[in-house]
């Protein structure tokens, strides 16, 4: 199909900068998720690619073709909306046929193509119905059929699953991914739901306030968040984040809440010696820690009082208060400490993340960039 490239794209609405100097490549045939909170500019990027918005600055390319000044209909894209945007006064057949009719395709060809895509998406028995007579999942497929019937080079999906109920969402999620791989179309998927992004995408782009925070495969986003925002946005519940002071008397050590100390692993030691920050931001994921009765081995340990226990069946979420910091820990269902009990939170080895307090960037990335830079 085609690769989509944004070069230095900025979009302003009046005084608001929705997208700020974004350089981004959506790989040919890849499934990329644009992930961010509402108002982060992810939908704006999608609409810029679609041609509904014109960038205030920068260029957009489909392969070698500069499409910055082309109208949406000149770009050969398919777009699926959150609310499906089916034409309510047209039957399912006419909805799917609409883009072909506008291209003045001969009626026999339209018929064949509509039937083909309808069969592919299992909606060929609904062709005479009106959108109002369809369920949410069926409307979703019709919207997808209308986007695919044009045989687009780029498929744009704007939170297409968020109006569906939870069960259907998981079902269509896997189906959507299969369809995308089968057609080999370049797909850009906008969502605020991290589980969708992580489950479906080949590459996840995390956006906040119009700026790209991280661009990486799902497991990297999850395990090695580039900055505090990504760490605190991804995960359910998200990573525990708190500030801590440093002590460099012998080696770089962190003063953890509750009065314990943890001297850092080698991968952080070098960068900490060089930067010598008096404070760092510490983070770890709730699933990378456990509640222990005695501090053991060399694991970082935080002392605190049990605040609440939320049993979820498969697991419990235990909130531990240490000084004025609340930490969440995911425990097996049988671990149910009493509220008020004094416990130790032990973080798995190598799972403690440290961030530069100024830039909020993960020290691991700073170390890596330094070693690459020489």
């Amino acid at each position: 199909m085609v690769e989509v490239r944004l070069e230095g794209v900025t979009k302003r609405f009046g005084r608001v900068t929705a997208v700020n100097n974004v350089n981004l490549t959506f790989g040919d045939g890849e499934f990329t998720a644009l992930l961010g909170p509402s108002g982060s500019g992810k939908s704006t990027i999608l609409y810029l690619v679609a041609g509904i918005y014109k960038p205030s600055k920068g260029r957009i390319y489909f392969g070698d073709r500069d499409v910055t000044d082309l109208m949406p209909n000149e770009r050969n894209i398919g777009l699926v909306f959150q609310n499906y945007a089916l034409y309510p006064h047209m039957t399912v057949y006419d909805n799917i046929a609409f883009p072909l009719k506008l291209r003045k395709t001969p009626p026999e060809v339209i018929r064949d193509k509509v039937l083909e895509v309808a069969k592919f998406l299992h909606i060929h028995e609904l062709l005479d119905r009106y959108p109002a007579q369809l369920s949410g999942g069926q409307q979703q497929r019709v919207a997808l059929a209308r986007a695919l019937v044009k045989e687009p080079e780029v498929l744009l999906l704007d939170e297409p699953l968020s109006n569906l109920d939870a069960l259907l969402r998981i079902k269509i999620r896997s189906e959507l991914k299969r369809i995308q791989k089968e057609l080999g179309v370049t797909a850009i998927y906008v969502t605020h739901d991290q589980s969708e992004a992580l489950a479906m995408a080949d590459k996840v782009v995390v956006i906040n306030r119009g700026v790209i925070q991280q661009e990486a495969p799902p497991d990297t986003i999850y395990n090695e968040p580039r900055n505090v925002f990504v760490a605190s946005f991804i995960g359910s519940p998200p990573a525990n984040i708190f500030p801590a002071t440093m002590d460099y008397t012998e080696e770089p050590c962190i003063n953890l809440p509750g009065g314990t100390r943890h001297c850092v692993e080698d991968e952080y030691a070098g960068v900490l010696w060089r930067m010598k920050p008096s404070k760092v931001i510490v983070g770890f994921r709730p699933e990378h820690a456990e509640i222990v009765e005695n501090p053991v081995d060399g694991r970082p340990v935080i002392v605190g009082e049990v605040y609440t226990v939320e049993p979820l069946g498969r697991e419990n979420i235990v909130t531990v208060a240490s000084e004025d910091i609340h930490l969440k820990v995911i425990t097996p269902p049988e671990v149910r400490p009493e509220a008020g009990e004094l416990v130790y939170v032990a973080v798995e080895k190598g799972k403690l993340m440290l961030f530069d307090p100024q830039t909020e960037v993960n020290l691991r990335y700073i170390a890596r960039e330094w070693s690459q830079g020489g």
Partner: protein, 313 residues
């Protein structure tokens, strides 16, 4: 079932009272009067003095033989047809234009078109009285005289050489100017209710502006088009105020400016004060209006647009 009936009656009652008091009763009264020789409001003497179908027979002869009444019927047909066309199609065009342009300009533009509706009838009438006045001081005449297009003043609405078309043009124009804003407002608000995504989707699907209008905007306001058409049709058949002013001030010819509704009004209250005869004409007018209204709903396939209720009571 009885309970449902009672509930239905409860909700319908306020409107029923209004309809009975201000529509059914006057209608019965009018029908009653149409069988009496009532003139000059001599109610005590003539209201129980039945003359059978005499008024209707007179109306029939008038329709058959009176050249002035022929003019009234022709005028009614032309006036209703053309003004209705302007009100619906013009309203739709204005609504589309105001929908497509920038919101601030659009607002000013819509306000401008609402002015004729906001202007008091007498002022609006006076405006056109001056504009089409037959002497050299008339606005249009003086303008054209200065430009040298005409050599002497034209009696726009009354010159026999240009009748009936000039008079018809004036009454259609003046009424259309008032009526077109109604459709514009209804259609514009209907357009505003169309989800933005539908327009974007159509654009992405490859629709140019004209195709968006044809395939999305207009079909999605079909219900509103039916409503405005029927509403305007019935108001045009029965309204006479603007025409009354134009005729009374001799802006247009008396007969080529008079529709059936104005004829009824003049006959009952103004010229000959023959209420019995006017009532007979009014009854015919109501029957024509009802039939035309139903036919229009039928043509526009109203029954297919009715959806089942959204909730039970």
């Amino acid at each position: 079932m009885a309970r449902r009936g009672r509930q239905a009656l409860f909700f319908l009652l306020p409107m029923l009272i209004l309809v009975v008091a201000f529509y059914i009763l006057p209608l019965i009264l009018t029908a009653w009067i149409s069988f009496t020789p009532l003139t000059n409001w001599r109610v005590r003497d003539q209201l129980d003095d039945f003359v059978g179908l005499e008024n209707y027979v007179n109306l029939y002869y008038l329709a058959r033989y009176d050249p002035d009444f022929h003019k009234v019927l022709q005028t009614t047909l032309v006036f209703v047809t053309f003004t209705l066309f302007i009100n619906v199609v013009g309203g739709l065009v204005l609504a589309i234009l105001t929908y497509l342009i920038d919101e601030r300009i659009s607002l000013a533009y819509r306000l401008l078109w609402l002015l004729p509706r906001m202007t008091p009838l007498a002022v609006f009438g006076l405006l056109w009285y001056y504009f089409f006045y037959g002497g050299p001081q008339g606005t249009l005449n003086s303008f054209l005289l200065k430009l040298g297009v005409i050599d002497e003043p034209v009696r726009w609405g009354t010159d026999p050489a240009m009748l009936p078309y000039s008079a018809w043009a004036i009454i259609v124009f003046v009424n259309g100017l008032v009526g077109v804003s109604y459709g514009m407002i209804i259609f514009y608000s209907a357009f505003k209710n169309i989800p933005r995504e539908l327009i974007i989707a159509a654009r992405v699907d490859g629709a140019r502006t004209w195709e968006v209008i044809r395939h999305i905007l207009v079909p999605m306001v079909r219900w509103h088009i039916v409503f405005v058409t029927v509403w305007q049709l019935l108001s045009l058949i029965t309204s006479y105020t603007h025409l009354f002013v134009l005729v009374q001030w001799s802006v247009v010819d008396k007969w080529y400016g008079t529709t059936l509704a104005l004829y009824v009004f003049n006959t009952a209250f103004f010229d000959v004060k023959n209420q019995g005869f006017a009532a007979a004409a009014a009854v015919i007018l109501v029957i024509i209006g009802s039939i035309l209204g139903l036919v229009t709903l039928r043509i526009m396939r109203f029954s297919q647009m009715i959806s089942p209720p959204r909730g039970d009571i």
